[in-house]
């Protein structure tokens, strides 16, 4: 805890004047704008080639995002954003050194060295987003990843099927998992896993079935009401061009969240993500 507090103080000192000014502007926004945390953003090498860091941060601020959970291939993209705007960027470590490792990382022992080195050097809130399916979750690399998450008190951000999620929990029942895209599963299947695993959270990135326009789907509404403290929103910038969709996505998210009772909407919009980050000891600057 001492380590994280010290880290937070250092962070505040490191916030550039411009970022502080932008943060103040954010704080002066009309109260009617629902605060939002985008829990699914990537800033990979082809993104920073086309979208300079300052422009990327400007997009996030224009979208009125309170926080943004960022992971990148390579991790350098996340670090660039974090250094530029630590008041808004929440870093997580992707176990990919470059694009193209989505289908191979879990069989590549050198990924362990990569993760260990980055975790020793930088601070993160989680490990992910990684892609892992079925029995591949039992391979040595994912097992070591679970152990590292426990050691550093991080959550796992898993783009996985339900089977892989359950296997990860078997490796460490106390691990915390943020289930990317809610597994692209049907509400009933998501419900079953949320019931079984209290440490399972779910993002709604890149899915449309929970809301059409500004109307929440009845099956998803029931699920949100049953598990009000587990869901969060996210854009998923899997190509650089999708950074320009972040504002559009934020508008859409606020529109459908307005269809829910305010306390529930706030939880999905930002409180659940804050609570998840807090579970890892990561300080949230309000």
């Amino acid at each position: 805890m001492i380590r994280y507090s010290l880290f937070a103080i250092l962070l505040l000192a490191a916030v550039p004047a411009q970022a502080q000014q932008q943060a103040q502007q954010l704080a002066q926004q009309p109260a009617s704008i629902l605060p939002l945390i985008d829990a699914h953003v990537h800033y990979s090498h082809d993104a920073w080639d086309n979208l300079p860091t300052a422009d990327a941060i400007a997009i996030l601020r224009r979208a009125n995002l309170r926080k943004v959970l960022v992971s990148s291939s390579s991790d350098e993209g996340t670090q660039r954003l974090y250094q530029a705007a630590p008041d808004i960027i929440v870093p997580e470590l992707r176990p990919y050194r470059r694009r193209g490792e989505i289908g191979s990382w879990f069989r590549d022992d050198s990924i362990i060295t990569h993760m260990e080195a980055r975790l020793a050097q930088y601070r993160y809130v989680g490990i992910g987003e990684f892609h892992l399916y079925g029995a591949d979750a039992d391979l040595p690399v994912p097992r070591r990843m679970v152990a590292l998450a426990r050691q550093y008190k991080l959550f796992l951000h898993a783009h996985s099927d339900g089977d892989a999620v359950e296997r990860l929990f078997r490796h460490d029942p106390d691990t915390i998992i943020l289930w990317a895209h809610s597994g692209f599963d049907r509400p009933d299947a998501v419900r079953a896993l949320l019931k079984r695993y209290p440490n399972l959270w779910a993002d709604l990135a890149f899915r449309n079935d929970h809301a059409s326009g500004s109307k929440v789907d009845p099956a998803w509404r029931a699920l949100f009401e049953e598990f009000p403290d587990r869901f969060m929103v996210g854009t998923d910038t899997f190509t650089p061009e999708r950074w320009y969709y972040i504002e559009e996505h934020a508008k859409w998210s606020r529109a459908w969240l307005a269809d829910l009772p305010a306390p529930l909407a706030e939880r999905i919009a930002f409180r659940n993500a804050e609570a998840l980050f807090a579970r890892t000891g990561f300080r949230i600057d309000r």
Partner: protein, 406 residues
């Protein structure tokens, strides 16, 4: 002796046929079904019920004249034909079109446009006539107006005469109604732009008739390319039906930043939102099929606009183009970024999977084609083109209009 020569000749022909067939693929039942689904050609002409002028000769004549009339533009220098040029399959050789400003996309070819459900690379219009209004009014394209178009149709004697033949009450119409009349006439003309039968169609029909001799006339390379297209390549999943397009929108891993190639890294860019933006536009377009200008609101054509909604996946999706007579329409893709068909094939051969969402376009995989396979696929694509006379028919229509209404 004569009988001997006849038998020998038949044997020679058969031998030649079998020699050609030896390096041609054998299509199984599933592939045969897929091949047959790309015909017959041409399809039956069905009138557009949303357009009361569809198929009417006098409207087609007026539409042909308006299509090439630069007075529809704000600066009097740009017509539809400026970008949709007959000699380029009603597209153009420039990568990105230039209206009053340089535009973000390549002008799509207009052959077989009548077979589409959505119009434009982003489907921002749901009828051919509404799609004909868009460039007239767009300030970046022709920069015209309903008032100026109406004035032209009322006051220019030949145009007023042609419009009167279409609708005797034309001169008394409101500006917007006259604009719509002009656009519907242009749509009626564009509906006549149909690509011709091709070597592929002859092969497809021979296959349907189990006419093996006729099938051998289709080059073996094109047959192998067809086998790739309908087999391992799965190209026909999206490039389906007689027009080789499912009429929908997909992300094929192509970058959709807007800007000139060669910009240094770090240069701020814009993106083309593609279908996502198109849906937003078509929903609020007063000329969509839910509006008062639809001549048959009960038509099934209005069903898609009622139900279409924006999805995350639509960001950067562009319409699947038809493939007939595509030789003439180079360059390719929504931004004209592929100079020739070889570059298009190479795009799918070397597809960057990282640009596709892990749960997105599941059928798209790098084809990893060898040089011979690329040549075969090219031979097949080229076999979808044939000599066509739409440019001559266009000029004939304009000449006829000048005779009817000098």
């Amino acid at each position: 002796m004569r009988l001997f020569r006849l038998v020998a000749g038949c044997l020679l022909i058969a031998a030649a046929g079998f020699a050609q067939a030896a390096d041609a693929p054998v299509f199984d039942a599933a592939q045969t079904r897929r091949i047959l689904s790309h015909g017959p050609w041409p399809p039956e002409m069905v009138a557009d019920r949303s357009n009361r002028l569809s198929g009417r000769p006098e409207a087609i004549r007026l539409g042909a004249v308006l299509f090439g009339d630069t007075r529809l533009s704000g600066n009097g220098a740009i017509s539809c034909q400026s970008c949709h040029q007959p000699q380029h399959g009603w597209s153009e050789a420039r990568a990105r079109s230039e209206g009053l400003q340089r535009l973000d996309r390549n002008a799509p070819g207009l052959l077989n446009a009548r077979l589409q459900r959505w119009f434009g690379w982003d489907g921002a219009n749901d009828s051919l006539w509404a799609a004909s209004i868009r460039p007239i009014l767009a300030h970046t394209e022709m920069g015209g107006s309903a008032a100026a178009t109406a004035q032209l149709l009322r006051n220019d004697p030949p145009l007023a005469c042609l419009a009167r033949h279409v609708d005797p009450a034309a001169a008394a119409m409101e500006d917007a109604d006259l604009l719509v009349l002009a656009a519907k006439a242009m749509a009626a003309f564009q509906e006549t732009l149909v690509s011709p039968r091709t070597a592929f169609d002859d092969f497809r029909d021979a296959l349907a008739a189990s006419d093996r001799i006729a099938m051998t006339r289709y080059p073996a390379a094109a047959q192998r390319g067809l086998a790739l297209f309908t087999g391992r390549g799965q190209c026909g999943t999206c490039h389906s039906g007689p027009n080789f397009s499912n009429g929908e929108f997909h992300d094929t891993g192509l970058p959709f930043f807007i800007g000139d190639a060669g910009q240094p890294p770090g240069t701020p860019r814009r993106v083309d939102p593609g279908r996502h933006g198109g849906i937003a536009q078509v929903k609020v377009n007063p000329f969509n099929l839910l509006g008062r200008y639809n001549d048959d609101p009960s038509s099934p054509a209005a069903i898609p606009i009622r139900h279409v909604v924006q999805l995350h996946r639509n960001w950067g999706e562009f319409k699947v183009p038809g493939l007939r007579n595509l030789i003439a329409t180079a360059p390719y893709m929504h931004d004209g970024s592929k100079a020739d068909l070889h570059a298009v094939i190479r795009h799918y051969s070397d597809l960057d999977e990282d640009r596709l969402h892990a749960d997105g376009e599941a059928i798209l995989k790098p084809l990893n084609l060898g040089d011979a396979e690329m040549a075969d696929l090219l031979a097949f694509l080229e076999s979808l083109s044939g000599p066509e006379d739409s440019a001559a028919r266009y000029q004939a229509l304009r000449a006829e209009a000048a005779r009817v209404c000098p």
